[in-house]
């Protein structure tokens, strides 16, 4: 199925191409275009990658290479809200793995899995180490989490979904 960007996304891409015109091409816009495609189509299917390639005059293989290098781009459908729970050193020292386990139990998901509402990700440091353990959900941070706070966080996010595409 051939996909198309919305008029709004096309405007954004054109404006960005201007900002990177000094490069002599459109290649630097590929990351922003992939963020936009993920926002519009939910995930980066082969068709979405082909659309980005066509829009920026790039080979499909190049776009595929970029999309598969960075962890925030997803090739498979995911939940509306992505919860990124850190377990790196500062979080681990303050019960980060127990917090991750509490999210797994509350959501009924293993890390890396998704359902309609949620994707649960074990994250590698979200730069909030002084408030460990922590999680980032779109523009929202959850700081100084303890396992007993997890049910409330999940209930809150179910009520008010917080998709990452909000800032794209």
């Amino acid at each position: 199925m051939s996909l198309e960007f919305s008029a709004e996304a096309q405007t954004k891409i054109s404006a960005l191409c201007e900002r990177y015109a000094v490069s002599g091409g459109k290649q630097p816009v590929v990351m922003a275009a992939l963020h936009l495609a993920q926002k519009e189509f939910g995930h980066l299917s082969d068709d979405a990658l082909k659309l980005v390639a066509r829009t920026l005059d790039l080979p499909y293989a190049h776009v595929y290479g970029v999309a598969t290098f960075y962890t925030m781009y997803r090739r498979e459908p995911g939940g509306t809200t992505t919860i990124r729970v850190c377990t790196n050193i500062s979080c681990m020292l303050r019960r980060g793995y127990e917090v991750l386990a509490a999210f797994e139990q509350q959501l009924g998901l293993k890390k890396g899995q998704s359902n309609k509402d949620f994707t649960l990700v074990e994250e590698e440091c979200i730069a909030a180490c002084a408030n460990a353990p922590c999680a980032v959900v779109g523009t929202k941070y959850y700081l100084d989490i303890t396992p007993d706070k997890v049910p409330q966080i999940v209930a809150e996010l179910k009520q008010n979904p917080h998709p990452e595409s909000e800032v794209v």
Binding site: L16, R19, Y20, V22, S23, G24, Q27, P28, V29, V30, M31, A32, L34, H35, L58, G65, V66, F69, Y70, T71, M72, Y73, R84, T87, N88, I89, S90, M92, L93, R94, E123, E124, C125, I126, A127, A128, C129, A130, N131, A132, V136, G138, T139, K140, Y141, E164, E166, V167
Partner: protein
Amino acid sequence: MPTPIDTKLVTQRFGDEQGKTLAGYERTGGYGALRKALAMRPEDITAEVKASNLRGRGGAGFATGVKWGFVPKDAKVVHLVCNADESEPGTCKDRELIYWDPHLLIEGMIIAAHALRAVHNYIYIRGEMMREYAVLQRAVDEAYQRGYLGKNILGTGIECHLTVHRGAGAYICGEETALLNSLEGLRGQPRLKPPFPAVKGLFGNPTIVNNVETLMNVPLILDKGGAWFNGLGMGRSGGTRMICVSGHVNKPGVFELPMGITFNQIIHDVCGGLAAGRTVKAVIPGGVSMPPLDASELDVPCEFDALQTDERIKPVMVREGQQFDLGGGRALRTMAGSGGVVVMDDQTDIPRAVWRIMKFFAHESCGQCTPCREGTGWLEKVSRRVAEGNGKPDDLELLASIAHGIAGNTICALGDAAAWPMLGFLTKFRADFEAKIAKKVKAA
């Protein structure tokens, strides 16, 4: 005279919700330094920054003014890039700095861009920092509207553009050449140096890459003078330092502190010590890439040169009787890195903590160089079995040999970043690893 502990330069607007708006920023003197700088010759700005002894706050601690001086004089197109890809575990300062004072970063970038005669400039912000991206993009839009950015800034005839570029999840993009590749729309894999970015960087043009905190100090230097800034610091390191303290202290936090403060002062005076009955076992001084300190090494100042040369810090060993050689026989003690101080108390399972650090590097290796791609995977596997109590008698020798085989043999510093803490922990906490292995051998 040492800097008072409450000197606030880059954190002066922390806690002030108005400070992040253009109106709030201007009300507290914002963009005053830019007006002053635009009336100066570019080389005079660089001279002032050189005199300040401002050193890069991203990790390497290189002298900022000297770096700016590496751009060839006859360069036609130059770029300034801000590295806002903060992702070194233990480090959480740039995220706070951007959130509370985005215009200070923008002002610092416009001044630096003028010094470098750079027109098209970029901020590379980490993909996961979605809140900070929103704050920063709004501030950049405000600066364009008010004429601080654009084709003719403040009517001076100078053109300066700033574009915020979002990453999408990759620690390696904090390495400056990987960051440039990512900005160019490539996979974020590092480039061989030389040529250094100051000679051949973004789109093949001379490019200066500076950290967020580094650039945010520039308006203050222009405002009060390089000599003043240098006077606040210690030795060859001017100004204050953002220190992020995490782990087993009573009051973790992000603090702007005097350059010469010691680790004991940070832990006990700033962060309220440890829980009752606990003592310090290990301290990571500047992000997980840096070899650790043990409890006897904490009276050393948290300053760039001191951490590399102070003889109270034991050298990292490859094995008994063989020091790790940084080149020319120089010992590796540790480095100030990114300001991420991670404190571990006496109850910490050191082999498990080390496994977690190795897991991180194995996950983040970009895969370009074999020693790093394969080596970090092996460091993770072997350190995991040791941590889980399944270690073999030769595993510590094996870990040291893998780490030594990675260090110095890769395009970028990620390989060293995995090898150094591995060797550092083995040097200073060997008994903790041996105890885990001995238990297993006994059980068998």
